[in-house]
C-alpha cells in the first residue's frame, strides 16, 4: 500500500509511444487535487537524497554501489523505508541516518516514494476492459498474475510498480525491445534477463531460448516449450545474442488503440496484493 502525502502530489506527464505515434498522458499521483498550473518546485527531499543516498543508490535511485531502489516503495511502503533510514539494515551495507532527524528523513522518504509514482496513477483506458482483453488474448499462457498462469515471461503481479505506462505499451507492441534487469542480483550482476540467445554445443546441438541466468561459467536458457537448458560455457562452441527477439508475439496489429490503452490501464494497476 502506497501512503500518499499531500506535499508530494505532482502532475506527471508521460508520453505514450506506441504504433509510432506519441500520445501524451497526464497522470496524477492519487491523493488531493493537484495545484493545477503551478509548476512543481523541486521536492525538498531531492537535495537530501542526492546528498545522503545517491553515493550508493545513484542520483535517480537506479543503483550503483547499493541496489536499485526506484521501486522499493512498492514493496516496503513509506513506513518501511523510513524505518530503514532510521535504524538501517542490521548488518548490511546500508547505513543508518539517525542524525538527519524525523523531518528530513520524511522528506527523503517522500522523494524515494516519488520514484515509484511514475509507474502509477490513473490511466485513460478502462482497466476492467483491459482485464478482459488480457484474458481473451491468453496472456496468462506465459505470465503469472497473483499466482495464476505460465512462466515463460516475467511474473506481472507487480508490473505496475516496475514499468511506466509507456514501457508497458512498448512491451506489448515491441516484445524483446526493453528487457528487465535480472531480479536476483540487480545492478551487481546486471545482465538483461529474457534476452533471446542461441547456443551451439561443441557436439553440434543447437538451443535457442530466453536467458534465465547468465554468469561467467554457465547459462540457462528457456526454450519455447518452457523447458530449461542448463549449459556450461566451456561446452559451447558458440553463444550468440538475438536482440529484439522474444517468445512473446507482438500485439502491434492485433489491438486497437483503445484496446491497448485498456490493457495498459489494467497492467498499470497490477501493484501486488494490498
Amino acid at each position: 500500500m502506497i501512503r500518499i502525502r499531500s506535499s508530494r502530489v505532482a502532475a506527471l506527464v508521460f508520453i505514450l509511444c506506441g504504433f509510432g505515434l506519441c500520445v501524451p498522458f497526464v497522470a496524477f499521483a492519487a491523493g488531493r487535487a493537484p495545484q493545477a498550473t503551478k509548476p512543481a518546485a523541486a521536492p525538498p527531499g531531492k537535495p537530501l537524497f542526492e546528498g545522503a543516498c545517491a553515493v550508493c543508490h545513484g542520483m535517480d535511485g537506479s543503483g550503483g554501489n547499493g541496489p536499485n531502489i526506484r521501486h522499493a516503495a512498492a514493496r516496503l511502503g513509506p513506513n518501511g523505508i523510513e524505518d530503514l533510514v532510521k535504524v538501517g539494515f542490521i548488518g548490511s551495507g546500508m547505513p543508518t541516518f539517525p542524525q538527519l532527524g524525523d523531518e528530513k528523513i520524511r522528506q527523503i522518504v517522500d522523494y524515494v516514494v516519488s520514484f515509484d509514482q511514475e509507474a502509477s496513477g490513473t490511466q485513460p483506458g478502462d482497466a476492467q476492459k483491459g482485464k478482459e482483453i488480457y484474458r481473451s488474448k491468453n496472456c496468462s499462457q506465459c505470465h503469472i498474475v497473483n499466482g495464476q498462469g505460465g512462466n515463460l515471461g516475467p511474473d506481472l503481479t507487480r508490473v505496475g510498480t516496475r514499468l511506466s505506462p509507456g514501457s508497458l505499451s512498448d512491451a506489448i507492441t515491441s516484445p524483446g525491445l526493453k528487457l528487465p534487469l535480472d531480479a536476483n542480483l540487480a545492478e551487481r550482476a546486471a545482465f538483461r534477463a529474457y534476452l533471446m540467445q542461441r547456443a551451439v554445443t561443441k557436439d553440434g546441438r543447437e538451443i535457442t531460448g530466453l536467458r534465465v541466468n547468465d554468469d561467467t561459467f554457465s547459462v540457462q536458457l528457456r526454450d519455447a516449450g518452457g523447458q530449461i537448458h542448463s549449459l556450461r560455457k566451456l561446452d559451447l562452441q558458440k553463444l550468440e545474442d538475438l536482440p529484439g527477439k522474444s517468445w512473446m508475439p507482438s500485439y502491434k496489429d492485433g489491438l486497437s488503440e483503445t484496446q491497448l490503452n485498456d490493457l495498459v490501464s489494467y497492467l498499470a494497476g497490477l501493484r501486488g496484493a494490498r
Binding site: P47, I90, G91, G93, L185, A189, A190, F191, F217
Partner: protein, 540 residues
C-alpha cells in the same frame, strides 16, 4: 601384535601432541619473518602476502594439473551478516580474520572452528559517511594481533586469547573518521590510515609503537595553512580536503619507505570551490617509515571530480626498464591507467590505459593526464568511463615473479556523473561527498575481466571475461595459478600463463574480498570470503 599397535597409537598421539604443541608455541611473528615471507609460504603473514604487496605464494601443491579437483574443506559462517571484505592472516595453523564491522576471530585452520573472538563496543551514533561498515583484516607482529575499528581506534590483542593489550584513539568518529583497512606491521611499528573522504575531513597516516601503542608520527595528507601545497586548494577548501588513506600500503625495507595511496578530494563531484590540483589527493605517497616525512608523491588524478581514489595497494618490484635495472612501484589505478614509477625517486616511467577510458587524451612526459574537454560532472549528468567505482577499486591485484605479469580485476563500465554542492559540510551525513554521484550504465556491455598485464609496460597478455561485476582481488601462486571471484559467486582458478579457466565453484553469493592461500600439516588451502561466509578449499 598388540604392542605394535600400541607403538603405532603412541606415534600418532605424539604427532598430534607435537602438532598441537607447536602451533600453541609458534604464532610469534618476527619482523624478520615478514621480511622473508616467501621462506614460509605456509603462512599468509601480512595483508599483501609480502611487503611488496605481491599476493603471490610460493606454494605449489595445487597446480595447473590438479586444480580441477579442488574440493571444499570447510566454511565459516559469520555470526552477524554484513559487508564481508576480510583478507585473512594465517600463522602456524591459526587464521585471524575480521568480521564486519570490527570483530576479530581466530580460527583453527584444520577445522574452521573458532578459538577466540573479540568484538569492540561501538558508539550508537556511529558515523559511516560514504563507506561500508566493514573491515579488511588484521596485522600480526610478535604474538600480538592488531586491528582497526570502524569508530577509528587501533587495538592490540593477545594472539592466543584475544585479550586487549592496548587500545588507542586514532581519530574522531564524530568528525567522520572511520577505519576499514588492515593495519601494516613493520619493524616495531604499526601503520594505519583512515577512511572518511566523503565526510569533510583531512586524511592522515599514523605510526604507532607496536609494544605500547604510543603514536610515533602522523602525516597529514592535506597541507594546512603555511605548508607547501596548500595553494593547490582554492580558498579554505583544504580544511575538508579528504585524501584519506583507506586501504593498506606497501613497504620497502631497504629504502625504509612506505608507499600509501590516497583517496578523493572533497567534495567528490564538484571541484568549483577547490580550484587547483588538491594535493595530496588521488596520489601515491612515499613516506619515511622512521619520521613520517613524505619523500615524494605522485598524483595520478589532479583536481579529481570523479572519485578515483588511488586506494589499490601498490606493487613493488625490481625490473629492467630500457635495459636499466630499476626499483619500481606499479599501480593499476582506479582512473583506468596502469602506472610504472621509480620507487626511489617517484619518477614517472610509463602509463597506459588498461580499460576503456574517456576522460584523458593520454599522459604527458611527467605522467600528468592531458584532459579531454567537458569531463566534469554536470546537473544533467556527464557520461564518462570508468564509473565512480572505477577501473579497479580496493581489491588487490597480484604479481607473479614467475610470469612477470600483474593480474588485475578490471571493470569496463561508464557512468553519468552528477554534480553535487561546491562546499563541504564536515561530518554531515546528508552530504556524502558533497552530494552528487553517478548513474551507472548497466546490462551486458558493463563487465569485468581478470587481465594479465605485463608488469613493466601494462600491455595486456590475456584476459578472462566475467559476467557482471567483480569486487575480488587476485591471488597468484607458484603452482601457475591465478585465483579470483565474481559477484555471481563464482570462485575460480585460471592458468597464470594463458588465462584458461581450470576450476570453478559457485559459492552462492557475491565475493567482495581478496583470496589468500596457506598450508598446515603439509596441505595447501585457498580461502575467499563471499557475502557471509569464509570458504576454504583444498585437494582431496
Amino acid at each position: 601384535m598388540k604392542s605394535l599397535q600400541y607403538v603405532a597409537y603412541a606415534g600418532v598421539l605424539a604427532a598430534l601432541l607435537l602438532a598441537g604443541w607447536s602451533s600453541a608455541l609458534a604464532q610469534n611473528v618476527t619482523y624478520d619473518d615478514i621480511l622473508h615471507s616467501s621462506a614460509q609460504p605456509q603462512n599468509w603473514i601480512t595483508y599483501g602476502g609480502n611487503y611488496s604487496s605481491h599476493r603471490f605464494s610460493e606454494l605449489k601443491q595445487i597446480d595447473t594439473q590438479n586444480a580441477a579437483s579442488l574440493k571444499m574443506e570447510w566454511v565459516y559462517q559469520l555470526r552477524r551478516t554484513g559487508i564481508f571484505e576480510t583478507s585473512p592472516i594465517v600463522v602456524d595453523g591459526y587464521l585471524y580474520m575480521t568480521e564486519p564491522p570490527s570483530t576479530v576471530t581466530a580460527l583453527d585452520v584444520r577445522t574452521g572452528k573458532a578459538i577466540w573472538r573479540w568484538t569492540p563496543e561501538l558508539p550508537k551514533n556511529l558515523l559511516t559517511i560514504g563507506l561500508f561498515p566493514t573491515n579488511r583484516g588484521v596485522a600480526v607482529l610478535g604474538d600480538t594481533v592488531y586491528v582497526t575499528t570502524i569508530d577509528s581506534y587501533l587495538v592490540a590483542l593477545d594472539g592466543k586469547t584475544g585479550a586487549v593489550r592496548w587500545r588507542v584513539h586514532v581519530a574522531e568518529n564524530k568528525e567522520g573518521y572511520a577505519i576499514t583497512s588492515a593495519p601494516l606491521a613493520i619493524n616495531g611499528k604499526i601503520i594505519t590510515g583512515t577512511g572518511g573522504g566523503e565526510a569533510g575531513l583531512r586524511g592522515l597516516l599514523d605510526a604507532y609503537d607496536a609494544k605500547t601503542g604510543k603514536r610515533l608520527w602522523r602525516l597529514w595528507t592535506v597541507p594546512t595553512q603555511g605548508e607547501p601545497g596548500v595553494e593547490t586548494w582554492g580558498g579554505d577548501s583544504w580544511k575538508w580536503g579528504g585524501a584519506t588513506t583507506w586501504n593498506t600500503g606497501s613497504y620497502d625495507p631497504e629504502l625504509n619507505l612506505l608507499y600509501w595511496g590516497t583517496g578523493n578530494p572533497a567534495p567528490d563531484w564538484n571541484g568549483d570551490a577547490r580550484q587547483g590540483d588538491n594535493l595530496y589527493s588521488c596520489s601515491l605517497l612515499a613516506v619515511d617509515a622512521d619520521t613520517g616525512k613524505m619523500k615524494w608523491y605522485f598524483q595520478f588524478s589532479p583536481h579529481d571530480t570523479h572519485d578515483w581514489d588511488a586506494a589499490e595497494p601498490p606493487i613493488l618490484l625490481d625490473a629492467a626498464i630500457n635495459g636499466q635495472p630499476r626499483k619500481l612501484v606499479v599501480m593499476a589505478n582506479r582512473n583506468g591507467f596502469y602506472y610504472v614509477l621509480d620507487r626511489t625517486t617517484g619518477e614517472f616511467l610509463s602509463g597506459v590505459p588498461f580499460i576503456k577510458q574517456t576522460w584523458a587524451k593520454g599522459l604527458d612526459a611527467k605522467g600528468r593526464p592531458i584532459l579531454m574537454p567537458d569531463i566534469d560532472p554536470s546537473p544533467q549528468g556527464t557520461l564518462i568511463y570508468p564509473s565512480i567505482t572505477g577501473a579497479i577499486n580496493f581489491s588487490s591485484p597480484s604479481y607473479s615473479p614467475l610470469t612477470g605479469l600483474v593480474y588485475v580485476t578490471a571493470r569496463e563500465q561508464g557512468a553519468y556523473y552528477f554534480k553535487g554542492r561546491p562546499k563541504m559540510e564536515p561530518a554531515n551525513p546528508e552530504l556524502a561527498g558533497g552530494g552528487g554521484g553517478q548513474r551507472v550504465l548497466t546490462g551486458d556491455p558493463a563487465y569485468t575481466a581478470v587481465r594479465a598485464l605485463d608488469a613493466t609496460t601494462g600491455k595486456m597478455k590475456w584476459q578472462f571475461k566475467l559476467v557482471g561485476d567483480s569486487w575480488t582481488g587476485t591471488l597468484a601462486t607458484a603452482g601457475g595459478l591465478v585465483f579470483s571471484a565474481d559477484v555471481a559467486g563464482n570462485f575460480f582458478a585460471l592458468d597464470a600463463a594463458t588465462g584458461k579457466p581450470l576450476w570453478n565453484v559457485h559459492v552462492g553469493a557475491a565475493a567482495r574480498a581478496n583470496p589468500v592461500t596457506f598450508a598446515v600439516d603439509g596441505k595447501q588451502y585457498v580461502a575467499v570470503a563471499a557475502t557471509n561466509s569464509l570458504f576454504v578449499f583444498g585437494l582431496p
